[in-house]
Symmetry: C2
Subunit: 203 residues, 2 copies
Amino acid sequence: MSGKRTTRLTPDQRREQLVGIGLEMLADRSLDELSTDEVARRAGISRGLLFHYFDSKRDFYRAVVSAACDRFTAATEPDGSLEPVAWMRSFIAGFVSYVLEHRQVYLALVRGAAGSHPAVTDIVGATRETLARRVCDGQRRLGMPDAPRLALASRAWMAFAEEAVISWPAEEPGAQDELCAFIESSLVSVLGLLDRPGALTPR
Amino acid sequence: MSGKRTTRLTPDQRREQLVGIGLEMLADRSLDELSTDEVARRAGISRGLLFHYFDSKRDFYRAVVSAACDRFTAATEPDGSLEPVAWMRSFIAGFVSYVLEHRQVYLALVRGAAGSHPAVTDIVGATRETLARRVCDGQRRLGMPDAPRLALASRAWMAFAEEAVISWPAEEPGAQDELCAFIESSLVSVLGLLDRPGALTPR
């Protein structure tokens, strides 16, 4: 049956197709529940053929999570030609929309079982680092001094933003604008603490 | 061998002993790596006897994680008779010291594989909720109005505080005081946003 209209794909196209199916399936299940049998079935190929393209289940999981993380970082990258404030707002707006639109995949990947799945923690960790570095970059664009705790505060603020977006009642009217404003204000106030003389010295 | 000096424990003492061994072992491994064989061996009992006290490996894991979370919430509960500001500072100082002192168990349980281990996510989630509710309680003690987004902002701020404590270079001199001051200032500024007219309305 599945052979009838199987299009001949190049190895790259096939890998991309299989990863795409994996990504779709993550919308309603965790990484542990992502069955390679089911992925192969949806692609109309045998499980054996799937493992021709991926060395192991772990290798397939890593490809799916890498693809999700690449899309996330690409979708939240602001246009480099923007003015500093607009650049930072664009980053926040991109982050908020992406997480809201891909809430299930985000929960499955960045938080919860999959984000800390031993096979993919390094990929998810590197993605968090990329986002935190982007916050630092935004601060530099705004002309803020490179405070000693900036990288750390940016990581902590990203954790804040992540939790806020995930918990926000996004279906209420105006909620997304309100959320962006809250996240922006929190960034300004938290990173502003680094710049306040004496704010970060022992009491 | 192990029988020679085995003390006769009551069932409650035995359960407590086994959970205690599990907690100790979490200091250098994740929940998935916590072997019940090894726990039984350390207690000088058979694996079969361990499963006389716990229905399953899952049941044992839940008991260990519950015990860790109970200790955590108990250790960070401020004295109810303190003045509001001192109460809030005591909560922050307790949270910071506990996470720094039990960094490995904290990482194994609240973050990473174990925190999102399907067997225990509900316990870890309830613990996060307890801490976030305590932040709300602190705000009420301080006479702050019960803002509509207070619970949500408290959860997000707890995620911020968690990340900050875990990443902070705690071995540097004065680092713990500096960290407490940073966390306290961040709480004041982030929750202060809820109270600022217009700060949380759509732009």
